[in-house]
């Protein structure tokens, strides 16, 4: 019997190795898999390359991972926020490498990895600092920049409901990067609020088919707002 659910957070992040590229879902804190990140901090892998839209908020979640000194490089679109002081300090001290990517290029490069494309010509960023040194091409009257896929060894994402085959649904705008990161990582680990019986999720409404998910773990503690 296929059973992708694991019993503990510890098991869920087992095998994440030093130097791994790890995608982390979420846009700000919505959809950020806080418990998986805490488990990763506990697990101890270091020298990580992190892919996330942001670079951490406050002192928890991704910010705590950065603070613990586990991140060598971050690939993101919007590091600087009002409460990104952990990242800001590391960056100013030269202790973290930043690859800044326009948000839509981040998304489509992740999608390209999941879909097995070799590269894509995107219009976003053409003529800007963020395209400097990159190959460009004029196609059908418009200018494009060549961008390459972003793949990951692991993806940590937060979903709402899941079943033992790994099928997932999400909740509201917490969906954001989850579905596309799940497709782009060798091993996708999802934390869910609820694990349901096989067949209980409407086959028309599954957002991430189980083929893209390798492990899922239920988070016992449910903040009120994440219920139902």
């Amino acid at each position: 019997m296929i059973n992708k659910t694991v019993a503990t957070l510890e098991e869920s992040v087992a095998g994440i190795f030093d130097g791994a590229t790890v995608m982390i879902g979420g846009f700000g804190t919505a959809g950020q898999p806080a418990e998986l990140i805490d488990a990763l901090i506990h697990q101890g892998a270091r020298d990580l390359t992190i892919v996330n839209n942001n670079a951490g908020n406050g002192d928890i979640g991704l910010a705590a991972l950065l603070k613990a000194g586990r991140v060598r490089k971050i690939i993101c679109s919007f590091p600087r926020q009002s409460d990104s002081h952990v990242f800001d300090s590391l960056y100013r001290a030269g202790q973290i490498e930043l690859e800044l990517v326009p948000q839509g290029n981040l998304a489509v490069r992740i999608q390209a990895a999941g879909a097995g494309l070799g590269a894509i010509f995107t219009p976003t960023g053409f003529g800007t600092l963020l395209a400097e040194g990159k190959e460009t091409r004029h196609i059908d009257g418009k200018d494009y920049v060549l961008e390459y896929p972003i793949k990951a060894d692991f993806a940590l994402i937060k979903a709402h409901k899941g079943d033992r085959w790994g099928n997932l649904t999400y909740r509201k705008a917490a969906r954001n990067f989850g579905p596309i990161m799940a497709m782009a990582a060798d091993c996708t680990i999802a934390q869910v609020n609820q694990i349901v019986s096989l067949g209980e999720l409407d086959p028309e409404s599954v957002v991430t088919p189980g083929i893209f998910v390798q492990r899922l773990v239920r988070i016992q503690h449910q903040p009120a707002a994440s219920a139902a």
Binding site: S77, P102, N105, A107, V108, T124
Partner: protein, 215 residues
């Protein structure tokens, strides 16, 4: 001369958005446009983090951390709204499916180049978010900004000094002094703040304007 204040600018933008338009309001000043959308028009707001049909801020009791806008503020969903992932959300933007986006700016060039993401200061931590995607993707890009900086320099320039967000992408400027279309290499002044003459406005900028009121 009566400059338009920020709410007045936002109102002018709002009144120019037609029924049925799909609109993205950038973080900051543009967000204010939502407050002035005519209640008798159905206008569908897009949020880059995967929402169409975004509604206003919820009552405090209804705040849901999973339902936020691009500025990470709590919002609501209108009936008919829906959620989707970041791939689809940016396909809407990059693929030209949005009718209008409204952005802030540090500078706009006479050819419609936009600079709004990075001051270029050596110690600044850059953050771009979805600005570049919005700039090049929407069918119409409107910019809301003051005509002059606090130190009196005009933000409508020959060539942007700040790092660019997008090239030749801005269609219209809503400023505290005037509304200006950027059209086929010309800067067409459509409306002037009360008591301001075209010559007054022309004297404030180094680029050549053309007076062509909209009505």
């Amino acid at each position: 001369m009566n400059k338009w204040n920020r709410d007045q600018i936002a109102q002018k933008v709002a009144l120019d958005i037609p029924e049925g338009a799909y609109v993205n309001l950038g973080i900051g000043l543009p967000t204010r446009v939502a407050n002035f959308l005519p209640p008798d028009r159905e206008i569908i707001l897009h949020s880059e983090n995967g929402i169409l049909g975004m509604g206003p801020a919820p009552l405090p009791a209804d705040i849901d951390p999973d339902l936020i806008n691009a500025g990470k503020e709590p919002v609501t969903l209108q009936p008919g709204g829906c959620y989707f992932h970041h791939g689809d959300s940016f396909a809407m933007m990059r693929g030209g499916h949005l009718d209008i986006c409204v952005l802030g700016a540090f500078q706009v060039s006479r050819r419609g180049d936009l600079a709004n993401w990075h001051t270029g200061a050596p110690d600044a931590i850059p953050a771009v978010g979805g600005a570049m995607d919005l700039a090049i993707g929407a069918k119409k890009v409107y910019v809301m900004m003051d005509f002059l900086t606090k130190t009196g320099d005009c933000k409508l320039v020959d060539t942007c000094e700040y790092p660019l967000t997008g090239i030749g992408c801005v269609d219209r400027l809503y400023t505290d002094l005037a509304i200006i279309d950027i059209h086929q290499g010309q800067l067409l002044v459509r409306e002037l703040a009360d008591g301001l003459t075209f010559d007054d406005l022309q004297r404030l900028t180094g680029v050549t304007l053309t007076y062509q009121p909209a009505h």
